[in-house]
Structure formats: C-alpha cells, structure tokens
C-alpha cells in the first residue's frame, strides 16, 4: 500500500551557524495523524530542526517539503500552526488575550476580519480554559496561562499539523494538565502534532513516536533514535529515564543507531 504524503519531510537536512555544523544529514518524515516528539539535550539542535522545517532558518544542505511541496513554493500555511516558546514582542504595547489569539487568523488570504473569527477565538480559548480572560492583557497572565493562550492561537487556526516548541517548559502543574488534555483532544481528532521538548513528561502517554537528536563527536547533531517511545519496563534504568539519559547514560551504541528500536 502506498504511504501517505508526509506532512513534513526532511531530506538530508544540514544547518550551519557561523561555519559550525548544527544539524548533519537529518532525514525525518512526519506523517499525517502522528504525534511525534523531538527530544535531545540542550544544544542538540532540536529547536533548530523544527525551525528549519518551517523555513525559519536557512538550510545549508538537503531539502524540506511540507505536504509534498518544496518549502520555498509552499503556500498552504493555513494547514500548519506553530507555537513558539514565547512571543517575540509581548509587552511592548498592551495586547489583549483576544488579540493574541485573533492574530493567528490573519494571513494574506484573510486580510480583513470575517464573520466567525470571534467565535473561533472564543472556542479556542474555551478549549484551554481561558475564555473568561479574553479581555485581559496578555502580559498580565502567568507564564503557564500565556502558553495556553499561545496554544489557543494555534487551535483557532484549525490547522492539520501543530508544531510546538517546549509547550510545557516552566509551566505550572495545572496548566500542564490543561495543555496535555488539549493535545489528547487533537490526537484523537487525527491531527498531526510535532513537539520539541526537553523531556516527554505528561506527553509520554500521547506520543506515538520519538526522535532523539544528539552528537557523538560534538559537531553536527544526527538522529540517534527514531521510533516508538520505549516501554519503561523493557529497559534497564541505566538505559532510559528520559531523553537526556538516552544520550548521556547509554553505554550500548547499538541502541542509538538511526532507525533502531529499543
């Protein structure tokens, strides 16, 4: 049977910064409906890979295709939603929660407001439990609530694929629970989710696949592992606690060969 077109296809992707190699020959396909997590230690290039997938950092080699279209020719951006760790300019001018979420509906194809935009914003905020804060200033919310608002902005877009950078880093337990619930809902609805995270944490039960980035030589991260999340009882404690330990504590190189399954 033919495989479906990947939502995201990275083909031999290389990224250099200031003449030093950050990503080296990364080939990863993310298929529709997958819930995948990119893991790795600090500096392993996981955020860089995610940004390369979205065209936010230039490639020095290889290619990225989104829904089968080369990145430079891709125009169906309404199919993708991206949640960064924090908003670039939050706090410079007061912005309401409603405006932050509503901004995600703006695009060259939607230059003017449409009927239904307000409802989409309210429904998305309701999904993350913050509809009642829609008139509040975004910078008056706690860090966890701000993250939930940013996720609501992605949800309002009603995209096919959601790409998130550390969605639960520094987030309180209540917000983590809300965010996990929201992503369980997305997974059940058959949406594609790709998240970059330091550790799987509450997403362990949701992820169908993990991609671990790391480097043995210290130069140019590669895919060290790509497969389903390991079942903890099948691994010795020495092998698996969370993503960092996969790289830092493993003494069986075979486990970390690309494509190897635990």
């Amino acid at each position: 049977m033919d495989q479906p077109t990947p939502a995201i296809c990275c083909d031999d992707v290389c990224v250099d910064f200031e003449a030093s190699c950050v990503l080296s020959n990364i080939s990863v396909d993310i298929f529709p409906g997958e819930f995948a997590a990119i893991l790795g230690v600090n500096g392993s290039g996981k955020t860089t890979l995610m940004r390369a997938m979205l065209g936010l950092v230039p490639l020095t080699g290889g290619a990225v295709r989104l829904y089968g279209t080369e990145l430079s020719k891709f125009r169906e951006w309404q199919r993708l939603a991206y949640v960064p760790q924090r908003l670039h300019s939050a706090g410079a001018v007061p912005i309401s929660v409603h405006e932050v979420v509503g901004a995600s509906l703006i695009s060259p194809r939607r230059r003017f407001p449409r009927r239904g935009d307000r409802q989409a914003v309210l429904e998305a905020l309701d999904l993350v439990g913050l509809a009642h804060r829609r008139k509040d200033r975004f910078d008056a919310l706690s860090g966890g609530q701000q993250r939930r608002v940013m996720i609501a902005a992605a949800l309002a877009k009603d995209a096919d694929t959601y790409i998130l950078d550390e969605p639960t880093a520094g987030v309180d337990a209540e917000s983590q629970e809300r965010i996990t619930d929201t992503f369980r809902h997305l997974r059940d609805a058959g949406r594609t989710v790709l998240l970059v995270t330091h550790e799987l944490g509450s997403f362990a039960a949701l992820a169908s696949r993990i991609i671990v980035l790391g480097s043995r030589t210290g130069v140019g991260s590669r895919v060290m592992y790509d497969g389903p999340p390991p079942v903890p009882e099948h691994l010795s404690e020495r092998h698996w606690h969370h993503s960092e330990d996969v790289i830092m504590r493993n003494d069986d190189p075979g486990l970390l060969e690309p494509g190897n399954k635990p």
């Binding site: 125009r75 908003l87 300019s89 309401s96 901004a103 703006i106 230059r111 200033r137």
Partner: protein, 286 residues
Amino acid sequence: MSLLSYDFMQRALIAAALVGVIAPLIGIFLVQRRLALLGDGMGHVALTGVGLAFLVGTAPVPTALIVAALGALLLEVIRSRSRTAGDLALALVFYGGIAGGVMLTALASGKASTALNQYLFGSLSTVAVEDIAWLVGASVIVLVILAVFGREMFSMTLDPDVAHVQGIRTTRLGVLLTVLAAVTVVIGMRTVGLLLVSAIMIVPVAAAQQVAGSFRGTAIGAVIVGLACSVAGLAASFQLDVPPGPSIVLLALAAFVVAALIAIPLRRRRNRHPHSDTAAREHRHG
C-alpha cells in the same frame, strides 16, 4: 481674532491634524517592533532631502519624500544584507542623513540655512497650498496601506516567526513599515519639524499604553492624544509666537505624565488582586 481667520493657520491646522492622526498609527507598530527611534533616523534622512531641494531648487516636500523613502529602503538593505545589527544600521543612516542635510544646505546659496530651521522645528507660516496637496495625498496613501496591511503588520510585530508560518511575507512587510515611517516623517516635517516628528509618533503611544488594555485601545488612545496635542500645540504656538514642534511635543509629554499618574492606582489595584477573578472562574470552569 480667531486663528482660523488666517489662511496660513488653516493650512497649518490641516497639516497638524494629518500628522496627529497618522504618526501614532505608524508609531504603535514601531514601538511594538522595539524600533521607537526609527522615526528619528528617518527624520535625519529627510533632512538630506530638504538640503537637496535647497541645492537644486525643487519643492522640499516631494524631494524629502523620495529621499526619505530611499533612505528607508537603504536601511533595510543594510540590515538584511550585511552583518550590521539593526540599531547600528539605523545609526549609520542617522549620521549620514544629518551630515548630508547640513552639507547640502551649506552648499546651497541664499537663505537656505535660515529656512532649514523651519524644517527642523516646524513653522506655522511656511505650509504652502501645494504642500497641503502632497501631505493629504501622502496621508491617504498611508491610511489605505494601513487599512489593507495593518492586520498583517500587527501579526508581524507580535511575532515574526509565527507570522511567517501564517504565510505573511514578514521581510517585505518590514520594508513597507519602514517606508511608511519615512513618509510619515515628511508629513510631519512642516508642522512638528524633522528633529521632533519622531516624538509625535512615539509619545502618544507611550501615553495611551499607560491606561489601555489592548493594541486596538492603545491605537485609538494614541490617535486621540496625537490629534489633540497637534491641534492644541499649534494653537499654543500661535498664541505664544514660538515654533509649533516644541509646543506639540511638550503637550504630548504632558499627556504622557497625566496618563502615567492615572495608571498608578489602576496598576496598584491590579497588583493587589492579581488574577483575583481568575482563580474563582477557573475553579468554576473546572
């Protein structure tokens, strides 16, 4: 005698009202992009345009308009194509603009040096009939562009990376915003003056954001402050026989102080009950 009974004051009031409305609308995007000093840089580039107009004998407003727009493009090229940081690129254009303006004015013969003062700090009596046509035309163009691209600009200034993933051409839009800032500087140069026009882009925004709770609220408040200060500052300038630029900017700064004072109890109340209604409502929402 009413100040409106003078033709030159009618023209000055039209020019002041235009800059009072347009400048804060552009300024709010500059503040959001953390480029509050961009207007200053563009003002200095426009000075080169005025100096060039004195030298070659063309009309100062259209000449400054073209030179400022070209300077805006140059700034974006330096910023994007070289390894020069944004503020350093702005400084280069800033210094080049003021040096070019003073040099060209000095080379121009006659009363150019005296006239330059009117462009630096604004003047009540020098807004000509043909200037009004240029200023109205430029203002309409800025307003139409804001009506079409304003929401995309908002998205870009909020987070350029997220905007990119929405299909928004952030680089082109950034260039467009810089050019609009340059055009706005020229719109304001006859009344507020090139050295102070940036203030009317930024200070009304700073005043409005003290009390506003949203981007839209800040924009509306900034336009009200900008328009009121421009018109009242012009009237004060007429009464006190001083240049209009300083009067307008000092009034805007006074509005900022008043807004900051009003904001103190609001902020205290907010800090005393942080998320006061949140906990209860979140509890209710489960």
